[in-house]
């Protein structure tokens, strides 16, 4: 969490752009500080935080509900035990009562059939007592009572057994006083009191537990309700987010489409424009040059040197403009022409370019160094234009050298691209202006130094960019220049 304050989120929130430098100012109250930290979070982080909170809430609620339910289950188990205990107490009391009345009847009548119920109680009692101990082993108080009860019961049964023995030995007269009051009057009273105590205590515990269970159930229901609500909130937010995302995507797609259509329309317009330039702009230029030539022919002899020079200037300006228009048309065509994709043998390509330029090489002393070049994937005509422009440039800017040195080669292949360079020992350029080199109509030399329209390198860059490559250059004034371009390697050529 601390790192969140140190580093700004990777995608800054575009909407809530509150001032960032708050933390360096006077202390802000804690809530303000929290709000500020929240404001720094990106949308994704906020959504994640919200989901995290809701999720944590649901987990806590589930845990509490689970605990409550366990308590309820435990209570219900204890309740069953309590009910059993109460029932058992009843059975014990009944059995003891049966034993008591049975032995007294025997004492009075001497009829041994009355001893059956007494005998049954004696036989059942250990079982009852074990059962009783089992049911009360979780409560110390009740256990004590059960122990006391056990002692009393044992003593009652013992007293009754002794009375029965006396009756058998000495007859009715021997046990007359016992037969009237019962053999264990004191014990029976104690037993009764203890039983009542046991019963009351158990009822009290039972009642408390029922209260607790009811509260716990209410709690659980409320919590489950809250959990359901949170889950609804979660679902609703997910729905809203997804809905928002889809709407956004639809909007972007629609916008892209409309922009694509606009672009297509603009391209069509540009095509019409360049067609018009190609056709209509050249006609007046042709006329200027033509009529200047006709004038010079018709009146050349009568004109003085100055006038003839003027005519020549008119003519050469028209030619220059014609060249500009032609270059610009090539530039525009390179941008919209469909591209071929074939394997181009650059060695062969450079050879044909040099052959085509041979007229420009006449009377020049040039030392060529041409290294083996790779095969690349691209449009042969366009790549040819690249070499024509780069080699023409090298020739042009080495014109002042006694021996021009031009080197063409390939750089090392790395990270999926091929690099090619053309190096010369010409007039070079100042690296300060390197950014202007590849711009349209950007020139680093005056026209009376080196002719040119300033489109050649722009064309090189455009073609290389359309191939997915890069162009760059290095040089120094009077130290020559090196022009590089890179082309991505086609997978089949790798």
């Amino acid at each position: 969490m601390e790192s969140a304050t140190q580093e700004p989120p990777t995608t800054p929130a575009p909407v809530h752009s509150e001032p960032v430098s708050h933390s360096s100012q006077a202390p802000i109250p804690k809530t303000g500080w929290l709000m500020e930290r929240f404001a720094h979070w990106s949308i994704e982080q906020r959504v994640l935080a919200g989901f995290g909170l809701v999720f944590a809430g649901i987990v806590v609620i589930s845990a509490i509900s689970y605990r409550n339910t366990s308590v309820l289950l435990e209570n219900s188990r204890l309740d069953t035990k309590s009910h059993e205990l109460v029932q058992l107490l009843g059975s014990v009391e009944e059995a003891l009562g049966a034993a008591e009345s049975g032995h007294r009847r025997y004492l009075v009548t001497g009829d041994e059939s009355y001893l059956k119920s007494y005998q049954a109680t004696v036989e059942q009692m250990p079982e009852y007592l074990r059962y009783l101990r089992g049911l009360t082993k979780e409560g110390a108080e009740q256990q004590d009572r059960v122990e006391a009860l056990e002692r009393l019961i044992t003593s009652q049964l013992k007293a009754e057994a002794e009375a029965i023995v006396q009756r058998k030995k000495r007859g009715y007269e021997g046990v007359r006083h016992l037969a009237l009051a019962g053999a264990a009057k004191n014990e029976i009273e104690g037993i009764h009191r203890l039983m009542t105590e046991l019963d009351t205590a158990e009822q009290r515990v039972l009642h408390a537990r029922v209260e607790e269970s009811a509260g716990s159930t209410k709690n659980t229901i409320a919590l489950l309700g809250l959990g359901a609500f949170l889950q609804l909130v979660l679902l609703a937010s997910v729905y809203i987010l997804i809905h928002h995302d889809i709407a956004e995507r639809r909007r972007v797609a629609a916008e892209l489409q409309s922009r694509g259509e606009l672009l297509q329309a603009a391209n069509k317009e540009l095509e019409a424009f360049s067609y018009s330039v190609s056709h209509d702009l050249r006609a007046p230029l042709r006329h200027i040059d033509g009529y200047a030539a006709l004038l010079s022919k018709a009146a050349g002899e009568t004109l003085n040197d100055k006038a003839r020079r003027y005519l020549q200037t008119i003519s050469s300006s028209a030619k220059q403009m014609g060249q500009l228009i032609d270059d610009l048309l090539v530039f525009s065509r390179m941008g919209r022409q469909d591209m071929l994709r074939t394997t181009v043998n650059l060695d062969q390509l450079v050879k044909t370019v040099l052959h085509d330029l041979r007229l420009d090489l006449q009377g020049r002393t040039i030392s060529w160094t041409i290294h083996p070049l790779p095969n690349v994937s691209g449009d042969p005509a366009m790549l040819r234009q690249v070499f024509v422009n780069l080699i023409s440039n090298a020739l042009k800017f080495t014109a002042t050298r006694l021996e021009a040195k031009i080197e063409i080669g390939a750089g090392p292949r790395n990270s999926g691209e091929t690099e090619v360079f053309v190096r010369d020992n010409g007039v070079g350029f100042d690296m300060q202006y390197v950014n202007k080199l590849f711009g349209v109509f950007q020139r680093l030399h005056r026209n009376d130094e080196f002719e040119g329209t300033g489109i050649g390198l722009a064309n090189v860059r455009r073609i290389i960019h359309r191939h997915g490559g890069r162009t760059w250059a290095e040089g120094a004034p009077d130290q020559g220049a090196t022009f590089h371009f890179s082309l991505p390697l086609a997978r089949s050529l790798r």
Binding site: S278, H279, H287, A292, A318, I325
Partner: protein, 151 residues
């Protein structure tokens, strides 16, 4: 009297026409040139109608055709010529400012015999027009008059 077959030059721009004529003059073939100023006039000439109703019969030795012309443009004239069995044999040279690929492709598809882009430089223009005039007007043997394929 030898009937010299004329060269038909379709050019809507009078300056271009004058320059072309000046170029042809250099080689003394200008007097053989008939100039039409739009596509409709070219068709009138070829079908001997309108202002050309009373001209001497016969096809020109070659037609130099500008692409962009008022009324009927160069490509339509070309289509008309190549769709008429009688006119089809006339060599048609497109002489235009346009270097657009589309124009080149359409012209050849319609049956143009050559396609020449007018150079801006007058010396080159003269050279081009001269060569064209000499080649098509003098060197090239035109199809025999009224020739029709037997098939």
């Amino acid at each position: 009297m030898t009937t010299v077959k004329p060269i038909l030059l379709a050019e809507d721009n009078p300056r271009d026409a004058e320059l072309a004529l000046a170029a042809m003059e250099e080689h003394h073939i200008a007097d053989k040139v008939v100039v039409c100023h739009d596509g409709a006039e070219v068709l009138d000439y070829l079908y001997c109608r309108g202002i050309f109703a009373s001209r001497q019969q016969g096809n020109p030795v070659v037609v130099f055709l500008d692409l962009k012309m008022p009324k009927v443009d160069g490509l339509e004239v070309l289509r008309a010529i190549k769709n008429d069995a009688n006119l089809k044999p006339i060599p048609v040279v497109m002489l235009t400012s346009s270097r657009e690929e589309r124009d080149l492709a359409q012209s050849y598809a319609l049956g143009a015999n050559a396609y020449v882009v007018k150079p801006v430089e007058f010396q080159q223009f003269i050279a081009a027009v001269k060569e064209l005039g000499v080649f098509w007007g003098v060197i090239n043997e035109p199809p025999p008059e009224g020739s029709k394929p037997n098939a």
